[in-house]
Amino acid sequence: MKNIFKFCLLVWAVAFYSCDDPYKDQIFTVSDKQPIASYLETRPDDFSEWIKVLEYADMYNAVNLSGTSFTAFVPNNKAVAAFYADKNVSSIEELGKSYARQLVQYHVINDSTALDALVAGGQLDVTNLSGDHLEINFRDNSDESGGFGSSMYVNGEAHVSELSISTSNGLVYVLDGVLQPLIQGVYELAKENGKNKILSEALALTSWSDSLTIIADTTYTVEGAKVITRRYYTLLGVPDAVYQEQGITSVQDLASKLGAGSDYTDKNNALNRYVAYHILPGRYKVADLQKTEMESLTYKLWTPECTNTLIKISKEADGNFYLNYDGGEQKARLVETDADFSCKNGYIQQLDGYLPICTNLKPVLFYWDPTAYPELGNYIASNGVEGQTFQKGQDASNDKELRTELSDANLACYQFSYGPEGKPGSNWGNLAYQTIRTKEGMNYDDRDATVKVFNEDLLSLSLGYKGTVVMNSPALIPGKYKVTLRYFYANSMRYFRWFGNGSNGGVTTFQFTDAQVPEVAVALYSSLPNDIASVNATTGEITYKTKQGLQDVVLYESLDITEMREYPFRITIDDPAANNSKDFRVQIDYILFEPINE
């Protein structure tokens, strides 16, 4: 919800732009400091040009508002002049009001961004008013008299020359350059970048270009509230030169090499599937693509838009990162020298191979995190509770666990239903995305502080007795696996451990419905090791030594996967206590697949 809230103010301002400055008669709070626009007025030699831009965009008074705080990146006069020269104009008016507004929105964040956040580098957590993440980078300058932060740039294009000037309604950072707003999506930029001509044509023929042009989805909740969710993609681009090495000089060559029929928009068409294989949902830089989920792993399995496929990115003995190393000649590498091309809705990366769909990946150990859906990631980024970041715990000492309720989010990744008695009351959310606390000394397992919550998040289920949720696994590589569920136990679940509150011990049933295996019912809480610390003689209340812990239960000693595809996984709450206790919930960390070598 946070971003919507932050958008509101300026969206409101934007709504009036066609007629007049909406705040022109408003009275501002008086304090010893001036608000941002007034502050800029005091330095006309530096900011008179940007003030003109603010005025023309009808944003002058908006950034002067009290009661909210802003971070304003303000290009100085020299920067604005250089920007006009580059655009071949002499004033902002020549670029038009709509452009001016985009430009200003791109330079303002409706939140106070402290210097620390900039100094930390990387993408800023809070988006600017145009809904984009600004990025802070550092360039080497060998100026021996350069002061604190002299190497700091925004989006790699504008040097920050003055840091965190405090005003009554936020902070001003002065720029030596103007930031160029990102307007185009992945498809437009791939089409225009001059090196992905064949793949761009394939995107157009298969209609994937439509998806890659979308910036955001708008949906409405049951109550009618508008929910805007940004969509992000990462295109694994294949340069035309790489196709030429394969004897492919046109999109028709590509189609015939793949043996594709002519109905390119059919999702089962070979060209369509090939193109979808090159699109990862989510925005990933090369550094992100090279990350693994555990330090002990040297690879990660990625799920592209092409159904029932996987891409394995691994670090191999030669120190390089490969895509589908198992694919022999069909393996590819990310071109690190031409990486992270930034688009409004994601990134374009480049490969040194043409990366056909890999069908011969070998089974590997992997952790399926049932919250690792890009759809959920996008939803949390746009609509998560204040302060929550997808797959990132809260590390400040005063931060709490954060939970975003998903039962009204209409997410395709979770098909759920409440039990016959309907939605139960819950202290933990009915279908909730929870990020943990990661501050020092905060352990989620009393017995071993080294045991960590995977991806710093949990899926919390409280769907009532006989409530179910079905979600799809990533595509599973054919082979036999031992399957282990890891879930979280907390002291507030102890009643279910001794069958209090009408509980049967937390019985929950699991099944891969398409995999020819029986249901598995597990009493998640009463099956925990008996480590009773004491029993209260009068109340019968039991205290256990383990107050919280990450628990493992084997669901299948051997799960036989015969076909490379996604498998629906159903969880049914079979404990009557799920209806009558607000503390009842099942909190899932991951499902581990370990290949069985025969």
């Binding site: 210097l115 080497d140 060998s142 350069g146 604190f148 190497s151 840091l163 590390d395 000394g441 502080a449």
Partner: protein
């Protein structure tokens, strides 16, 4: 140990019973001076408070001395990471120097008023008083030495804040003036001849290491001389320790098997001066002890740096451990993928399992020990010129031999000064790992002789730091001012005479 605690309690009692907080940095009521200094115990109580305040600074000494150097780092503490990434701003508490001035106030009080007590206490001999003064001078010199190495220019306060007459808005003095004062204090103490070779204390066996002796004065003087590029001075004072013949002298412990005794139980023969903790005697006495700071868990505050490149601190320790190095085998421990620092948590050399019990979380913080002084002398010899290289190598090899390592393969006749210094730096890094020395060692390398090794210094930091952006690091470190901390904003605001380090000018929010 008990006696020290008695002192502390006494001083604390004083604070409460007197009308105002005279130990504080802020100006106070004059009456305290007249009424307080009556017996030698009064002097000892304030001196003990000085040591106690110094002990409170140990967590800061760890951060200041280690984090920027990239051998020991904080993997997750965001406040500490700002320091290790050279991103501290004037608003951060880690650049507050008030704690150091608390220590200085104790030292200044003793220096100024011990003679008042002597006038009224007939049992307080001049010799006893002079001995107390040498300790106070040591504490003052050591405090300024920490300040000058971290802030460069600092206010030189030589009078206690005991009455309103003392000016408390004092401008910063230049580094060279601060160094001159430190040397003058140490010289005064040494020249008085009153510094003890040992403390004969029935109640506190560690007193000889926990209070400033003649040996501590020499070691500190050698260190200050090395910092200020007075290499002859460094060698001269190092030799006073290394060549001492007195029966109660500190001695380099050649026996490899005793190496861990330096840390457990501590107060070893090798030790020259260390701040003492004693959890058994008084249950809050572990607060701030290295045992508490260097915890042994995957989410511990400090770890040795390790990465896949194989050249970081933990990697180098592992390489040494493979060839049987005593100091390397037992200074880190792996827990999962963490490289916890073991020397303050372990109890012995032979394995990495026997940790200190929960009632022994009270390792001391060693400020000077013999191997340190040997390597100081070796460094001075190297800076002096090629004639001293062989002697420097011999000194380094003695330290290596104790750790069961082969001698250095470097050849004195052909080695360059930089090669010699880099060997020396590595030797200090490994031997004095996590002892709060590394950053100052690197600074000497980067600053001495007009900064001829500045680029090498910068690249050492860049290659060891695994948490900061390289471009940020480089752009920061080319500016010499960035090697020193900002003056804390609250201190800037309360003392209008202070001038901010130019690197941080304009950073207030």
């Amino acid at each position: 140990m008990k006696k020290l605690i008695v002192y502390v309690t006494l001083a604390a009692g004083l604070v409460c019973s007197s009308c105002s907080d005279w130990l504080d940095l802020t100006p106070n009521n004059e009456r305290v001076t007249n009424e307080y200094w009556k017996t030698k115990e009064d002097v000892e109580a304030v001196l003990a408070s000085g040591y106690n305040s110094l002990r409170k600074m140990v967590p800061t000494f760890v951060d200041w001395g280690e984090l920027r150097a990239g051998s020991v780092y904080s993997p997750s503490n965001t406040t500490k990471q700002k320091l290790q990434n050279f991103q501290l701003t004037p608003n951060d508490g880690l650049c507050k120097w008030a704690g150091m001035y608390d220590v200085l106030n104790m030292a200044n009080s003793v220096i100024k008023y011990a003679s008042e007590a002597q006038k009224v206490d007939e049992t307080y001999t001049t010799q006893a008083m002079n001995s107390h003064l040498t300790e106070a001078y040591f504490i003052r010199a050591l405090s300024y030495f920490y300040l000058v190495r971290n802030f460069r220019d600092v206010p030189l306060v030589l009078d206690p804040y005991v009455n309103d007459a003392a000016p408390y808005h004092i401008a910063q003095s230049k580094e060279k003036d601060v160094i001159a004062q430190i040397k003058a204090d140490l010289q005064t103490a040494i020249d008085s001849g009153a510094a003890k070779e040992f403390f004969d204390d029935d109640e506190w066996t560690g007193a000889t290491k926990g209070r400033a002796t003649k040996w501590a004065l020499y070691a500190l003087m050698a260190d200050v001389c090395l910092w200020s590029e007075d290499y002859d001075g460094c060698i001269q004072y190092a030799d006073k320790v290394l060549n001492a013949t007195a029966t109660q002298r500190p001695a380099f412990m050649k026996n490899s098997e005793l190496w861990f005794d330096i840390y457990y139980p501590g107060n070893s023969n090798e030790s020259i001066f260390e701040l003492n903790w004693d959890q058994g005697a008084y249950d809050v006495q572990q607060a701030g002890s290295p045992s508490e700071l260097f915890k042994f868990a995957s989410n511990t505050t400090y770890q040795f740096v390790w990465d896949e490149s194989g050249e970081k601190m933990a990697n180098r320790l592992m390489d040494e451990a493979e060839v049987g190095s005593v100091r390397a085998t037992n200074t880190y421990n792996l827990e999962g993928t963490s490289y916890c620092i073991w020397k303050y948590q372990g109890t012995r050399i032979s394995d990495k399992v026997s940790s200190r019990s929960s009632t022994e979380q009270d390792a001391n913080w060693i400020i000077y020990r013999m191997a340190d002084v040997m390597l100081m002398k070796a460094e001075a010899l190297i800076w002096k010129g090629a004639d001293g290289y062989q002697d420097a190598i011999d000194l380094m090899n003695s330290v290596r031999e104790r750790s069961m390592l082969a001698g250095l393969s470097i050849d004195a006749s052909s080695a360059s000064e930089q090669e010699m210094l880099e060997a020396l730096l590595n030797e200090r890094d490994m031997e004095l790992a996590a002892e709060g020395k590394r950053w100052y060692d690197l600074l000497r390398f980067g600053r001495s002789k007009g900064g001829i090794y500045k680029n090498a210094f910068i690249s050492i930091i860049e290659s060891n730091n695994i948490t900061a952006n390289t471009n940020w690091l480089h752009s920061t470190l080319v500016n010499d001012d960035a090697w020193f901390l900002p003056v804390n904003q609250t201190e800037m605001e309360s003392n209008p005479l202070l001038i901010q380090n130019p690197y941080y000018t304009g950073i207030t929010a």
